[in-house]
């Protein structure tokens, strides 16, 4: 019914109800994660959850801003509010308090108009926010561990490219399970039999795998089956080349190159995929594609990607344990898993994720 008189406003950053281990939470909070597509902010503030913290994401004339979804006055949700007419502030729906893009309270409508301005200490719990690639990103620590993914071709692309934003999905799976799956080759011939998988080509050759400043680079050929998703030419094999750029911890640029059926025109598609850790076992999936395939349409492309996702989701959501075991002896690894083994090692060795349970 009541909180104790000595209960502080917000005692810790780490939400006590989180199922993410506290040591891992503080590390993950230091990375940039997507919290909304830019297009979601057109009608005002939206709610998001990142690492079990409820956030409000809003755009003012100063740009995008991210804060705890909590008015400091009476705890109402700011995401239920709106942007002020001058575009400078988010307005709390309860008593109309105004907060600017830095989180500072700038107006208390219930006070006399000639009252002193709200004190400097009256501010939201705000976080670092950035907007790039049509995505709003947040970082919950003052010093990000790593910069945003560097995908310059998604910043600027010529008229021959089509950009496709895939509707956001939410998976009941951990962000790392999703990320490993997106960068896994051996499953394609098994899981993607409605889309591009080729059951007759299950072998994974020894592939290029390099450690980079942003994470990992993997490159290898595959022979897809084109199933005539958008044409009536029927099934045919197609030799493609995959280049995966995995930016730690959860962002991937998958580039797929191939020659069209005529053997002349060479086309390229990029599949950008970022898992945003909503909570220990829930992940929001942000995907954007770029392609220069002539005649491609946003609708067809998005539908194809959603079908592909639906093939993965049943598998990835069934994986147990839900958490990726960072003790490598806990699962079995084969040569095809070199990327996932390196990924797990790096999460431990570079960032300290999965640190051993302390003995009290």
């Amino acid at each position: 019914m009541y909180l104790a008189t000595d209960q502080e406003r917000s005692s810790t950053e780490y939400p006590a109800w989180s199922q993410i281990r506290e040591s891992d939470w503080h590390i993950l909070a230091g990375f940039w994660h997507p919290v909304a597509f830019s297009t979601e902010l057109e009608d005002g503030p939206v709610a998001a959850t990142l690492l079990d913290v409820d956030l409000v994401v809003y755009r003012t004339s100063e740009g995008v801003a991210v804060a705890k979804d909590l008015c400091i006055h009476r705890g109402s949700r700011l995401s239920g509010g709106w942007i002020s007419d001058d575009g400078a502030c988010i307005v709390c729906p309860y008593h109309g308090l105004h907060y600017d893009s830095s989180g500072q309270c700038t107006l208390i409508p219930a006070n006399e108009p000639d009252s002193a301005p709200p004190p400097k200490t009256m501010r939201l719990v705000s976080y670092l926010a950035a907007e790039r690639y049509g995505i709003v990103w947040a970082c919950m620590k003052p010093e990000p561990l790593r910069p945003l993914p560097e995908w310059p071709h998604l910043d600027e692309y010529g008229p021959e490219w089509l950009r496709i934003q895939i509707p956001k999905g939410t998976w009941a799976a951990t962000a790392s399970r999703h990320c490993e799956n997106f960068n896994d080759i051996a499953h394609i011939s098994w899981v993607h039999m409605q889309t591009f998988g080729n059951r007759a080509r299950p072998v994974v050759p020894d592939y290029t795998l390099e450690q980079t400043d942003y994470g990992l680079y993997m490159a290898l050929p595959y022979i897809e089956v084109e199933r005539g998703f958008n044409d009536d030419l029927g099934e045919r094999e197609r030799e493609v080349f995959y280049r995966h750029h995995l930016t730690y911890p959860f962002a991937t640029d998958l580039r797929v190159d191939y020659y069209e059926d005529d053997g002349e025109s060479f086309v390229t598609s990029h599949f950008f995929d970022i898992g945003s850790p909503v909570s220990a076992r829930t992940t929001d999936i942000y995907q954007v594609s770029l392609t220069n395939i002539p005649g491609a349409t946003v609708e067809d492309y998005a539908e194809y990607q959603l079908v592909t996702n639906s093939e993965d989701i049943v598998i990835v959501e069934s994986q147990r344990p839900e958490e990726v075991p960072l003790n490598l002896a806990a699962e079995t690894h084969i040569r095809a898993d070199r990327l996932s083994v390196r990924y797990r090692r790096d999460l431990v060795e570079m960032f300290g994720l999965g640190s051993p349970e302390m003995v009290a």
Binding site: A186, S189, W190, L328, E331
Partner: protein, 584 residues
């Protein structure tokens, strides 16, 4: 009297009728998720519901009758043993035997499947029921701990009477620690239902009622309905009264999987299996067939192309290929040709080994693994060399993969295992009574058009293997597409380096011989070295190297780690020189 630990007993996990052919059923016992499936040979597998590779639930796997196929990466797991039989991403590798899904006990009684962690426990034998005359009623999951369910069954037993039994007198008694028997008497008739309680975890259970005897025709459905309704009422009462008392959701006891068959294969030569000769017969002119059954437990799994070392009564050791197809896992089936110039091996098998005798075997080894991804698979058998190719042909047949089995023999009377060949007829081509030159001509015809992704497997007399390799090579078959095994080969192990290892901490020195991994040598010497994949991928068996040049064969280290030369994976990597020093 203290109640026995639930983990020391067997409990029901499913009804036999749940196990529809070629399906996988989900169950949960003592906090352990289980995948339960029946193979075509009737064996019921109760496995941990988790692929050992990336943790996908095996209840979504496909049951092909002899193997479960994980939907994520197509890994195949064998009936009975749970061993990984095939990894499609690496088709030319024989998966290490330690790759195994944890398996649990499985027994059938009273129309239910029983499982648990104890190797000794048996399903209950009750005076209330007769083993093969029961009606399994509808099972009901209840969200209360098992002890509350048992208590509730006792207290409410008066409610659990028969459908038409207003005048029935009802009594109940404990039928063991996890069952309540309800007996209803009406005049001279007696109806007994035993309610078995399956402990799902600390807060849940499944009540599985089994009725004694078979009901009269026409009454079955009404009995099923009546008991289902009564049990529904009981559940509602139990769950509402348990209410806030139920807080424990975790497992009350951990379920131990069955111990894995011993895999301490030291040199690979020591006998590790005791088998009895269950059947011996003459399968063709001069060829004796043997079926070897385990003296206890299960036979280790094998892959097509595998052989075992047989330790003969006269002290000799001989290698014989397993002819088993994937469905045959209860015995090893061998074929032995009596060699005219036998030095005692085949002579002994033919003359001195009889049905009922005991033999010692090694575990199966596979130097002749079969790829299951070829565009064309050609099997060429000469005489008794057919044995490993029979295993391959049956595997391909079951997976509906195309193949040709060319069987060269002197005559029809010399064709072994006719009963196995018969169902293979579409892929089988017999070549009878040919001279060596005619044989070469036939092989020429078979191999003349090489196409990409074709693979050829040949087994037979040495000169025939040599001829096949030469002819295929001349027709453009690359070396890595021609697979062969000399069936007289006495040395199975690959010829690799021999080196010395000094263990700095204990001051001991070991010799690692050809064909034996450093990891196995360390274990033989009593060093407790953890390992997982044993393929140079996971890094679990890493050792620190103090001195010596390394022959890294893993894919775990990156280039700089490799160049540093101060760590190695003992499962696959070796010394490049004659000696290394490890910090062990």
């Amino acid at each position: 009297m203290t109640a026995p630990e639930p983990g020391s007993l067997l409990h029901p996990v499913a009804s036999c009728a749940d196990l529809v052919p070629r399906h996988v059923v989900k169950a949960r016992l003592l906090g352990q998720d289980l995948a339960v499936w029946r193979a075509d040979d009737g064996f019921i597998n109760v496995w941990a519901d988790r692929c050992i590779h990336r943790g996908v639930r095996l209840t979504v796997a496909a049951n092909d009758g002899a193997e479960l196929v994980c939907p994520y990466h197509g890994w195949r797991y064998s009936n009975r043993s749970g061993n990984c039989a095939y990894m499609p991403a690496h088709p030319s590798d024989a998966p290490p035997r330690r790759l195994r899904v944890p398996a649990f006990r499985s027994e059938e009684r009273y129309g239910l499947i029983w499982s648990g962690g104890s190797p000794e426990a048996e399903p209950p034998r009750l005076p209330h029921l007769e083993a093969d005359d029961t009606l399994v009623l509808r099972a009901l999951p209840v969200n209360v701990p098992p002890d509350l369910a048992l208590q509730g069954l006792h207290e409410c037993s008066y409610q659990l009477g028969p459908a038409a039994g207003d005048a029935a007198s009802i009594s109940c008694d404990s039928a063991g620690p996890f069952a309540v028997a309800v007996t209803a008497r009406t005049g001279s008739t007696e109806e007994i239902v035993v309610h078995f309680v399956q402990p799902v975890d600390g807060g849940r259970c499944v009540i599985r009622p089994v009725m004694r005897g078979t009901p009269a025709a026409g009454r079955r459905l009404s009995i099923l309905r009546h008991h289902a309704r009564q049990l529904e009422e009981l559940r509602a009462r139990l769950e509402s009264s348990a209410g806030s008392r139920v807080t424990v959701r975790g497992p009350s006891t951990a379920l131990e999987p069955l111990p894995r068959p011993s895999t301490t294969a030291a040199s690979g030569r020591a006998p590790q299996l005791e088998v009895s000769v269950a059947r011996k017969w003459l399968t063709a002119e001069g060829i004796a067939a043997f079926e070897l059954a385990p003296m206890s437990g299960q036979l280790p799994s094998f892959q097509p192309g595998a052989h075992v070392d047989v330790h003969l009564p006269n002290g000799l050791v001989r290698q014989y290929s397993l002819t088993n197809g994937p469905g045959l896992t209860s015995v090893y089936r061998l074929g032995v040709k009596l060699e005219p110039d036998s030095r005692g091996g085949s002579r002994c098998m033919h003359d001195s080994v009889h049905e009922g005798d005991t033999l010692q075997l090694s575990e199966p080894h596979n130097n002749f693994p079969l790829r299951r991804d070829a565009a064309r698979t050609v099997l060429i058998a000469g005489g008794i060399g057919v044995t490993p190719l029979l295993a391959m042909a049956q595997t391909l047949e079951r997976q509906e993969l195309a193949y040709e089995l060319h069987y060269f023999a002197q005559s029809d009377d010399h064709l072994a295992f006719g009963e196995v060949l018969e169902p293979l007829s579409t892929g089988l081509v017999k070549h009878l009574g040919l001279s060596p030159d005619q044989t070469a001509d036939e092989i020429e015809k078979i191999t003349h058009d090489y196409g990409a992704a074709s693979h050829l497997y040949v087994c037979g007399p040495g000169p025939m293997i040599e001829a096949t390799r030469a002819i295929a090579g001349g027709s453009g078959w690359p070396d890595d597409a021609v697979h062969f095994e000399y069936f007289k080969n006495e040395s199975e192990l690959h010829d690799t380096s021999t080196f010395e290892v000094r263990l700095a901490r204990t001051g001991r020195t070991l010799m690692v011989g050809a064909g034996i991994s450093l990891l196995d040598s360390l274990r033989d010497a009593g060093v407790d070295m953890p390992s997982s994949c044993e393929q140079g991928v996971c890094g679990t068996c890493m050792a620190t190297v103090l001195e010596g040049q390394l022959d890294h064969q893993d894919v775990f280290f990156n280039d700089s780690e490799r160049a540093a030369g101060n760590q190695m994976l003992t499962c696959v990597s070796r010394a490049a020189g004659e000696r290394i020093v490890l910090d062990l």
